[in-house]
Amino acid sequence: MTIFFLSTQSLLDVLGGKGNTFKWLMGAGARIPMQDVEISAVSIGQALDTIQRNTNAVMRKNFERQLTLLVTTVRSSQGVIPFDEGAARIWADLQARTLEYRKSDGSTTELSPASRMVVATALRRGATFVESSQPYHAVIPDLTIFSP
């Protein structure tokens, strides 16, 4: 069984109905069983933080509502994964590395500590990490990536 572990941006893209992750996950061809999709509890915090920075109150409310529905669905198959001790040990190793992240405008930065927690949790689960292709993927050979 392949576990598909969504990155925070993939989670936000599903909420928005945008991007290739949404098309893949919700497309008729995918038919991914619900128990094969997981998210990190850290991603829920990151998504809420991003949503709360939005100045449009109506949009903010709608994002929050859809996030609640999505989290409830994933939780029903025990797919919300906490950041545990094993993940924390992997995270410490990731913190020491330079992990380059390419933004949508093409500029690059480093992956945030919170996103490293998400990656560490995916590694801990031995899951396939669902994220658009990123430069940092090449420096974590143990991380299985699926870029829709």
């Binding site: 599903v14 909420l15 945008k18 919700m26 991914i32 619900m34 992240y101 930065t109």
Partner: protein, 137 residues
């Protein structure tokens, strides 16, 4: 076979831990069979009736320690259960069924990392030397 039972069976594979699956299955079967599990003596005394009910699609549960209860079910009923379990919900179906509707807008996660490579021991030594140097000023 009870349609509600088969519908509930579809969601059982989402329970990943074996004890949770067994507990949920036990509760579901007890509910479907319409009451408390039968005792061994009860089954022995009324076997023809129990067998007839099982053949008609009503699963019969016989009492036992948790996880060791026994189930009497017809082959036809078992086939229906297997078919229902195999057709578990897809993520897309489950999300749509929850009432989820995409917002139609894209939000971008902010990334960035403020690297601090200061060694802790070095930082402590620097602090101590500052403390020692202070009275001399």
């Amino acid at each position: 076979m009870d349609v509600n039972f088969l519908s509930a069976v579809r969601s059982l594979p989402s329970l990943r831990e074996e004890p949770e699956l067994e507990k949920a299955l036990s509760e579901l079967l007890t509910k479907t069979s319409g009451g408390a599990p039968l005792t061994i003596k009860g089954v022995r005394d009324r076997f023809s009736s129990v067998n007839r009910l099982a053949k008609s699609g009503r699963i019969q549960v016989v009492k036992g320690p948790p996880g060791e209860e026994t189930v009497i079910v017809s082959i036809k009923g078992l086939a229906a259960i297997i078919r229902a379990a195999a057709a578990s919900l897809s993520f897309a179906d489950a999300l749509t069924a929850s009432g989820f509707v995409p917002t139609g807008h894209r939000l971008l996660q902010s990334e960035g990392f403020k690297r601090d490579d200061t060694l802790v021991l070095q930082a402590v030594e620097n602090a101590e030397s500052t403390e020692i140097a202070a009275p001399a000023r």
